[in-house]
C-alpha cells in the first residue's frame, strides 16, 4: 500500500458524434491528431521536470472517444511517459473505446501498443435504449466488440447506463445479467442523470420531458443492482463501479483515494503535491486553446490553484467516501500528516454510526451499504459540521 505510483490521465477530446447524456468534454469535429500528440508530449515533459523520482502506477486514456486514434499515436505517447518516469512492472494502462470505432485488428494494434485494459462504452444491450441514448452502434456491434476485447485484452471493463425512462427492475436484471456473462472483469453501472450541460437537459427544459427515474424507483434499481452484482461475485468497490476482487480500476481508485494524478490534454484536471502544498490544475476544454497555451507555456493549465488544507481535506473526504473501503486512517495520515479523527465532526460521525449509515473503527471511516446510497446527504451533513 505504501506503493503509491503516479496516476497519469490523458484526455482525447473528440467523438464521432455527441451523445445526449454525456457531459464530458468532447467535440464532434475532425481530430488534429499530431498536434494533439505533440502537445501532450510537451505537457508530459513539463510535469516530468517538476515531478521526478516517481513511478507511474497507471495510465488512463479517456475522452471523448480515444479508440478513434491511430494506435501508433498511443504507442508514441506511452513511450514518452516511459522515458520520463519508470513504469511499475504491473502498471495499468487503460483505453476507453466505443464499439463503433473498432474492429479486432484495431484492438490488436492497441494491445501491441501497450494497452492492458479496455474500458468499453457499450451503455446498453437493447436496441431501443441505444437509440434513446444516441449511440452510433447497435447491440450486435457491441457484442462483437466485447467478444474481440475479451480475446485480446487481459482486462476488460464495460460501461452501462440504467434507470432509463420506463426501465423496470426486471428488465434491467435481465440486461445486467447478460452483461455479467460476457467475460468482463469490471462493470461501471451508472444511473441515468441529466447533467445541465447536455442535450438531455435541453430536452427536459423545452418539452418538460422526464428522463430521470423517480426517487423511489431510482432507489429500488440501485439496491437491485447491488444485490445482483454481489451475488455474481462483482461487489461494488465504488458507488457505480463493480469488479471481481483484485480487478478494480487502479487508476480511478488512486483518484478516489486522493493520490496524485496528472491531467494531460484538453479539459484534463490534475492534483499534484509540490513542496507540501497540493495544487489543482485545470486545462481548457477547447483543443486549439489548450494547444496554444501548451505551445506558449509548456503546459495548458488555465488554473493552477494551491488548495488550502481544508479544501484538500474536503476533496479527499468527498472522493474517498465514494469507495466502499472509505477513508483509511493510515493513508489519511500520509496524505495530511494528521489524524483522520481531527478532520471529522465526531458528534455527527457518532450519529451516522448510530443510525447504521457508517462505520468508524481503527481502519478508518466508511459508509455502510445503506450509507453509500445516501452519500450526498451524508456529505452535506458532515460538511456542515465542519463549521
Amino acid at each position: 500500500m505504501a506503493n503509491e505510483g503516479l496516476a497519469v490521465y490523458i484526455h482525447w477530446p473528440w467523438c464521432l458524434a455527441k451523445c445526449p447524456y454525456c457531459a464530458f468534454t468532447s467535440f464532434a469535429t475532425p481530430p488534429d491528431e499530431d498536434l494533439w500528440r505533440e502537445a501532450c508530449q510537451t505537457e508530459l515533459a513539463f510535469y516530468a521536470a517538476r515531478i521526478s523520482a516517481r513511478r507511474v502506477g497507471s495510465v488512463y486514456i479517456g475522452g471523448g472517444t480515444p479508440s478513434m486514434m491511430n494506435p501508433a499515436t498511443l504507442e508514441r505517447l506511452l513511450a514518452t511517459i516511459a522515458r520520463f518516469w519508470p513504469m511499475e512492472s504491473d502498471v495499468e494502462i487503460t483505453l476507453e473505446a466505443n464499439p463503433a470505432t473498432v474492429d479486432a485488428a484495431h484492438f490488436q494494434a492497441f494491445r501491441d501498443a501497450g494497452v492492458k485494459r479496455l474500458s468499453l462504452g457499450i451503455q446498453a444491450l437493447r436496441e431501443d435504449a441505444l437509440r434513446f441514448l444516441g449511440r452510433i452502434h447497435g447491440v450486435k456491434e457491441a457484442r462483437q466488440a466485447i467478444e474481440a476485447a475479451v480475446r485480446i485484452f487481459p482486462r476488460l471493463s464495460l460501461d452501462l447506463i440504467y434507470a432509463r425512462p420506463g426501465q423496470t427492475p426486471e428488465a434491467w436484471t435481465d440486461e445486467v445479467r447478460e452483461a455479467l456473462a460476457m467475460g468482463a472483469q469490471h462493470l461501471s453501472l451508472y444511473q441515468l442523470t441529466v447533467d445541465p450541460r447536455t442535450a438531455f437537459a435541453t430536452r427536459v427544459r423545452h418539452d418538460g420531458a422526464c428522463l430521470e427515474a423517480a426517487p423511489e424507483d431510482s432507489a429500488r434499481l440501485f439496491e437491485t443492482t447491488q444485490e445482483i452484482l454481489r451475488e455474481a461475485g462483482f461487489p461494488a468497490y465504488e458507488v457505480s463501479n463493480h469488479a471481481r476482487p483484485g480487478e478494480e480500476s487502479r487508476h480511478n481508485r488512486a483518484v478516489w483515494r486522493y493520490q496524485d494524478y496528472l491531467g494531460i490534454g484538453p479539459a484534463a484536471h490534475g492534483r499534484l503535491r509540490d513542496g507540501g502544498v497540493r495544487f489543482a490544475t485545470e486545462n481548457p476544454g477547447r483543443p486549439d486553446v489548450w494547444a496554444e497555451r501548451v505551445a506558449a507555456y509548456g503546459h495548458g493549465a488555465v488554473r493552477r490553484q494551491a488548495l488550502t488544507r481544508e479544501e484538500a481535506q474536503r476533496e479527499a473526504r468527498l472522493m474517498g467516501l465514494r469507495l466502499v473501503e472509505g477513508l483509511n486512517a493510515d493513508r489519511w495520515r500520509r496524505l495530511f500528516n494528521e489524524d483522520l479523527d481531527q478532520s471529522l465532526d465526531s458528534p455527527r460521525v457518532d450519529r451516522l454510526v448510530r443510525e447504521g449509515l457508517a462505520v468508524k473503527d481503527a481502519q478508518g471511516f466508511r459508509t455502510t451499504p445503506a450509507g453509500l446510497q445516501r452519500l450526498e446527504a451524508i456529505l452535506r451533513y458532515l460538511e456542515r459540521g465542519q463549521g
Binding site: Q191, E216, V239, N252, A267, A280, R314, L357, L375, R384
Partner: protein, 601 residues
C-alpha cells in the same frame, strides 16, 4: 374663494370592481381637468399596485368645474374612496368631508357586501345618496331588477337612479346634473374663526408633508399661522392649494372647500387625521368632532429571507409608514427566523398590500408568519396582557381567561352556495344573527371570531361560492374563549414561528392539518424527522417525514472534484435560505406555505 351655493362635495362609494374609479375618470375628462394626453386609465389610483389590482387604497380628491344646465358654473369636489373593508377608516374620513355620495352599483351584478357597508356608512355620515346603475351598455345589464334590489336590500329609494356606463360615457351628463340638483351645498360661516378638518396627510418627497383639509368655517389663507388643535402644534401654511388633480396653488380656501396645505412638516406623525386646523391668532372655541384613530387589528411578523437585508427592511418599513399612519412595526427576534419585525395592519388586504409593496418597490424577499389577532390575556394577578404574538404567550398557570376579538360579518351570496357558506361559518365558530332572502340571493349576518377569519376564511369563502359570495365586516367586541396555545415541534424542538393560539375545539383539526402540511413541505433528510403538534405537554398530532432512501451522484471522477467541492460550498451558502433546527433544515418558504392554506382533506 368660492361661494357656498356653487360648491358640491361628494364621494363615490361602491363595491370593488363596480366601476368607481372609471366613473371618476369620466367626470375628470368631462370637466376638462386634464388634457387628453394626461388622461390615463384610473387617474386617481396613483400607486402602481392600485392600478394593477384595480383597487383604491388611499382616498384621493379632485376639484372639477362644471357649467350646469341652469347656466351657472359649479365647483365640484370629488373624493374617490377605497372600497375594501380594511380601508373603511379611510372611507369614513372621506365621507366626513362631503355632504353627499354617489352609490355606484354594477347593473350586471347587483348589490354586494361592500355596497351595503359603504351605503350605510354614507347614510351614517348624514349624506344624501344618489344611486347610479353602471355598466348598462352590457347585455347582462338588468337595471330594473337591480333597482328593486337596492330598494329591498339597502332600503334606498332607487326610482330615480341614474343609468350610466362609466366605460362608454353614457349618462355622465345626467350624473353631473344630479350632483348639482340633488346633492346639498355645504354650509359654513366665512367670517367665523378658521375651523378645518384634517382629512388626510401624506409625505411628498419635494413638499414635505401635504395635509388635506376640508374647511368648515372661516378662511385658510396662504402664509397664515395655523394651529393643529389636537397635537397643539403651530405651523406656517407656506402653500395652500387644490388638486385638479394636478396640484394648483391658490391664495385661500373658504368654507365648504377641500384643498391642501403644506407647512414645512417633516413627518406625518406630526399630523393627526381627524384633527382640527385653526388660526393661531384667532382660534376656534372648540374643535370638530374628528374620528376615532385607526387601530391595527391583524398582526404578523416579517423577516428578510436574507439576514443581511434586515437594515434595508427597517428602512423600507419606515418609508412605507411615512404614508400609512395605520401601519405599525417594531423589531422582533425569532429563534426560527432570526431578526425581523412584528407589524400591525388594518386587515388582511392591508397586510398583503404592504407585503407586496415591500417585495416589489423595495425589492425585498420576505418570510411572513401566520396572521394573528390581539388577545386580551387576564392573569391571575389581575393584570391584563395585550398579546399580539403567540410566541409571547405567558405560562398557562398564570392565566385566568383569554378574550379574543369578534366581528360582525355580512355575506351576500347566490342562494345555491348558502348551505356551504353556513357550514363554513359554523365550522369557524360563527353565531348566526340574520338570514334574509332577496330574490335569488341570500344576505347572511354572522358573529365570527376574527382569529378564524384571518386564517383562510376569504379563500375558503371564495372557493365554496366559486367567487360569487361577497364579504364585509365590522368589529364587534371582545369575548372570552376557550383558547389554548398550539405548539409545533420539529425533530422534538418547538418552532416559535409556527406557534399559534387556537380554540380548544379547533386544536385537533389545526394541529393535524399543520403537521400534514409540514410533512409535505420539509424535504426528506438523512434521518427521519418527527413533526408534532402539542397543547402544553400533550401531543395531539404526529407525522413522520421518512428518511431519504437514495441520494448519490452516479459519476465522480478526477475532473469532477473541483465542481463537486464548490457545490458543497454553495450548499453551505444555501443555508441562508434554510433554517436549522438541530439536524433539520426547514426551507423558509415552508413557513409561509404551511400557513397559507388549512386545506380540508
Amino acid at each position: 374663494m368660492e361661494s357656498l351655493e356653487s360648491l358640491r362635495n361628494f364621494a363615490i362609494v361602491a363595491h370593488i370592481d363596480h366601476g368607481k374609479s372609471t366613473l371618476a375618470d369620466r367626470l375628470i375628462e368631462r370637466c376638462g381637468a386634464l388634457e387628453a394626453r394626461e388622461m390615463r386609465s384610473q387617474v386617481l389610483d396613483s400607486m402602481d399596485i392600485e392600478r394593477e389590482r384595480g383597487i383604491t387604497i388611499k382616498a384621493q380628491t379632485v376639484r372639477l368645474r362644471y357649467l350646469a344646465k341652469d347656466g351657472k358654473t359649479y365647483v365640484l369636489n370629488l373624493m374617490d374612496t377605497p372600497g375594501h373593508v380594511d380601508f373603511a377608516y379611510e372611507v369614513s374620513r372621506s365621507l366626513a368631508a362631503c355632504e353627499g355620495s354617489l352609490l355606484v352599483v354594477d347593473s350586471t351584478q347587483g348589490v354586494e357586501a361592500q355596497t351595503l357597508a359603504n351605503a350605510y356608512q354614507a347614510i351614517d355620515a348624514g349624506h344624501t345618496l344618489v344611486p347610479l346603475l353602471n355598466k348598462i351598455d352590457l347585455p347582462a345589464s338588468e337595471p330594473d331588477r337591480i333597482r328593486q334590489q337596492i330598494e329591498d336590500v339597502v332600503g334606498l329609494d332607487a326610482s330615480d337612479a341614474v343609468l350610466i356606463s362609466a366605460k362608454t360615457g353614457i349618462g355622465i351628463e345626467d350624473v353631473l346634473e344630479a350632483i348639482v340638483t340633488r346633492l346639498p351645498a355645504p354650509q359654513g360661516q366665512a367670517d367665523a374663526p378658521l375651523k378645518a378638518l384634517l382629512v388626510d396627510s401624506w409625505y411628498d418627497a419635494y413638499l414635505g408633508v401635504v395635509v388635506l383639509v376640508r374647511v368648515v368655517d372661516g378662511v385658510l389663507r396662504k402664509g397664515m399661522k395655523v394651529r393643529f388643535m389636537g397635537t397643539a402644534s403651530t405651523h406656517e401654511a407656506d402653500r395652500v392649494g387644490v388638486f385638479t388633480p394636478k396640484k394648483v396653488e391658490v391664495d385661500e380656501l373658504g368654507p365648504g372647500e377641500i384643498g391642501f396645505l403644506t407647512a414645512g412638516i417633516k413627518h406625518i406623525s406630526a399630523t393627526r387625521v381627524g384633527d382640527t386646523v385653526t388660526e393661531e391668532r384667532r382660534p376656534a372655541s372648540a374643535p370638530l368632532a374628528g374620528f376615532k384613530p385607526s387601530v391595527p387589528v391583524v398582526f404578523c411578523s416579517l423577516f428578510p429571507t436574507d439576514a443581511g437585508a434586515f437594515e434595508r427592511l427597517r428602512d423600507s418599513l419606515g418609508k412605507l409608514a411615512l404614508n400609512d399612519a395605520s401601519f405599525q412595526f417594531e423589531a422582533e427576534t425569532s429563534a426560527a427566523l432570526g431578526f425581523g419585525f412584528r407589524c400591525g395592519f388594518l386587515g388582511l388586504l392591508h397586510l398583503e398590500i404592504v407585503q407586496e409593496r415591500l417585495e416589489r418597490e423595495f425589492n425585498l424577499d420576505l418570510v411572513t408568519t401566520a396572521p394573528s389577532v390581539i388577545y386580551r390575556v387576564h392573569r391571575v394577578d389581575g393584570s391584563i396582557l395585550t398579546l399580539h404574538n403567540p410566541a409571547d404567550m405567558p405560562n398557562p398557570s398564570t392565566i385566568t381567561t383569554i378574550e379574543e376579538p369578534w366581528i360582525k360579518a355580512t355575506i351576500l351570496t347566490p342562494d345555491t352556495y348558502l348551505g356551504d357558506i353556513l357550514a363554513l361559518c359554523s365550522e369557524r365558530r360563527g353565531v348566526q344573527i340574520e338570514l334574509t332572502y332577496v330574490g335569488q340571493r341570500a344576505l347572511v349576518i354572522y358573529y365570527l371570531p376574527l382569529n378564524e377569519v384571518v386564517f383562510d376564511f376569504y379563500d375558503r369563502l371564495k372557493s365554496v361560492s366559486r367567487g360569487y359570495a361577497s364579504f364585509d365586516y365590522v368589529f364587534a367586541d371582545y369575548r372570552e374563549g376557550d383558547l389554548v396555545p398550539l405548539n409545533i415541534l420539529v425533530n422534538d424542538e418547538p418552532v416559535d414561528a409556527l406557534a399559534c393560539i387556537v380554540h380548544r375545539e379547533q386544536a385537533d383539526r389545526r394541529g393535524r392539518a399543520l403537521c400534514e402540511r409540514l410533512k409535505e413541505l420539509i424535504p426528506r433528510h438523512l434521518f427521519k424527522i418527527p413533526i408534532q403538534a402539542a397543547l402544553g405537554g400533550r401531543i395531539i398530532a404526529r407525522e413522520t417525514i421518512p428518511a431519504l432512501r437514495k441520494d448519490v451522484t452516479a459519476k465522480c471522477y478526477g475532473g469532477d472534484i473541483s465542481r463537486k467541492r464548490k457545490l458543497l460550498d454553495k450548499q453551505k451558502e444555501g443555508k441562508k435560505r434554510m433554517r436549522q433546527f438541530g439536524d433539520v433544515e426547514i426551507p423558509q418558504s415552508a413557513f409561509v406555505a404551511v400557513l397559507k392554506t388549512d386545506r380540508e382533506k
